[in-house]
């Protein structure tokens, strides 16, 4: 396994299997009375978040704490970054305090990779701009694998704002690595430019017609419609988006009854996902959250517990 986790491309299929096996063991720890393992005792992890996040940050925080690491959260709001300090200075300052792991979210694509070149600490990408969000993709695939068994040959449909979604990019990479077939669905305005070339290389298909794709899906992933995009002219109105691409009650009926419904959260109920779908028995939204802690524990453990490869 490589030293940092910046992209799903950093991982081989064997790496992913190893991470999932360990995550399954970590999952058991969540059900224990003493939810604590000593593996990262004496090590420090900093969550450096330049963008708002509740679940990813708290998920990393819990994961680190259950492994006995000291976890410190720094968010850009109220930090020196808002006083105009550069990313490089912020990161170097933080690392000068003696940090072993840096979990970073930043609005600029490639920020995590850039940071990994500046510091000695292990860097984990918790979302960089419109590029990638590898731990989200891992927890999605892990959740689906627990529900469906091996993903080889399974058909996963990803729906939503593909242009701005780092979750989608990481997910396509991981699902394809694991042998699933992937169809991505979006309105033409939210389909990334140049996706035809990528889909050919990456081996996935694109569609504008959700109703046509859903009956064949073994799982469906709804992406969040970011409200701030609404004013961007990508679609005429929220209602129009829902009619074309929301997982409504009618569309729920098209889906196989045992096909898991994923959503990375936070959900806009009534916009991209109807309450009927969000609360359906086949919805795995909360499974994703608990899987998130287990998968992040596994990532922290594998990147940070062993011998430091740089030494």
């Amino acid at each position: 396994m490589r030293r940092h986790l910046l992209s799903i491309d950093d991982l081989t299929v064997d790496d992913i299997d190893t991470l999932f096996d360990t995550a399954a063991e970590m999952h058991d720890v969540q059900n224990r009375q003493v939810k604590k393992l000593p593996a990262l005792r004496g090590r420090t992890v900093i969550n450096l978040f330049f963008e708002d996040s509740t679940r990813t940050r708290s998920s990393f925080e819990i994961a680190g704490k259950w492994l006995s690491a000291d976890v410190i959260n720094i968010s850009a709001k109220g930090s020196s970054a808002s006083k105009g300090e550069s990313l490089r200075d912020t990161v170097l300052t933080v690392c000068a305090m003696g940090v072993d792991g840096l979990v970073i979210r930043h609005g600029a694509s490639g920020a995590a990779k850039q940071v990994s070149e500046w510091v000695d600490a292990v860097v984990i990408n918790a979302g960089d701009g419109m590029h990638e969000h590898p731990t989200q993709a891992l927890l999605d695939a892990y959740t689906l694998q627990r529900k469906l068994g091996p993903l080889e040959g399974r058909h996963v449909v990803i729906v939503g704002d593909l242009t701005h979604s780092r979750v989608f990019r990481s997910n396509v990479l991981s699902l394809r690595k694991l042998g699933a077939s992937v169809t991505v669905v979006a309105p033409p305005t939210l389909m990334p430019s140049g996706i035809d070339g990528w889909s050919k290389d990456g081996g996935f298909t694109t569609s504008y017609d959700l109703d046509a794709v859903l009956p064949d899906a073994d799982a469906v992933m709804m992406l969040r419609v970011q409200r701030e995009r609404m004013s961007g002219g990508y679609f005429p109105s929220a209602r129009e988006y829902t009619v074309g691409y929301g997982l409504t009650r009618d569309r729920l009926a098209l889906l196989k009854p045992d096909a898991p419904i994923c959503h990375p959260g936070p959900m806009n109920r009534g916009l991209e996902i109807a309450a009927d779908a969000a609360d359906a028995a086949q919805s795995v939204v909360l499974d994703q959250v608990s899987a998130g802690v287990a998968v992040r524990m596994s990532v922290l453990y594998h990147l940070m517990a062993g011998e430091d490869s740089s030494e």
């Binding site: 604590k36 393992l37 000593p38 062993g306 011998e307 490869s309």
Partner: protein
């Protein structure tokens, strides 16, 4: 978990050295340990045999089978992974943890018998005691090992020992079990140079 005493590749037969215990010796030792455990506990009630990965797990199962045969009473068996509790985590590449399995009823109030193949430095058992501590509060914890080869680095001793095997620190003791290695055998051999440098388990 006695990775240092066993072949680097699980399942690879140890080459060279001499056989200290053959299959029948191992069977007799396990039968005696089973009786000792029963005697000490005054019966099978409340016993939980926890095998320490890797080779303690099949050993715990075998002891449980023997106890069940003798007493006509099934004994709870589980497995314990101590990877996360080791004191040498940082000096090796990261190892994946194995599965820890305990009865759904938990380990509180049980008499836990830890089962491992080789007792050497005692560090694995120290890690196992910490792991047990996080799982619950047993009434007592005891230790059964197939081979005690000495060279303790911590104040730890076994309650039930299959064979005391005086050894030089540099020698290598390999326990091979049918379930994992396809043969039941305990061998002792001169350690390769690299293993001498690594020192202890």
């Amino acid at each position: 978990m006695s990775a240092e005493q066993t072949p680097a590749t699980p399942g690879a037969p140890a080459t060279g050295g001499r056989t200290v215990l053959d299959a029948r010796d191992i069977a007799r030792a396990l039968t005696r340990i089973s009786h000792e455990i029963l005697e000490r506990n005054k019966g099978p009630e409340g016993l939980l045999l926890l095998g320490i990965h890797t080779r303690g797990v099949p050993l715990a199962k075998r002891i449980a089978e023997r106890i069940s045969t003798v007493e006509d009473h099934t004994v709870a068996v589980g497995s314990l992974d101590v990877t996360m509790y080791r004191d040498d985590l940082r000096s090796h590449p990261t190892r994946s943890p194995h599965h820890t399995q305990t009865p759904a009823s938990g380990i509180d109030g049980k008499v836990v018998v830890l089962v491992d193949d080789v007792l050497f430095s005692g560090r694995t058992i120290r890690a196992a005691l910490d792991a047990v501590n996080d799982l619950g509060r047993p009434a007592a914890v005891r230790l059964a090992v197939l081979v005690d080869r000495g060279h303790r680095e911590l104040p730890i001793r076994a309650d039930h020992v299959g064979k005391n095997l005086p050894s030089a620190r540099a020698e290598r003791v390999s326990v091979l079990l049918d379930e994992i290695d396809g043969v039941d055998e305990v061998r002792i051999s001169d350690a390769p140079k690299s293993a001498v440098k690594e020192g202890v388990a």
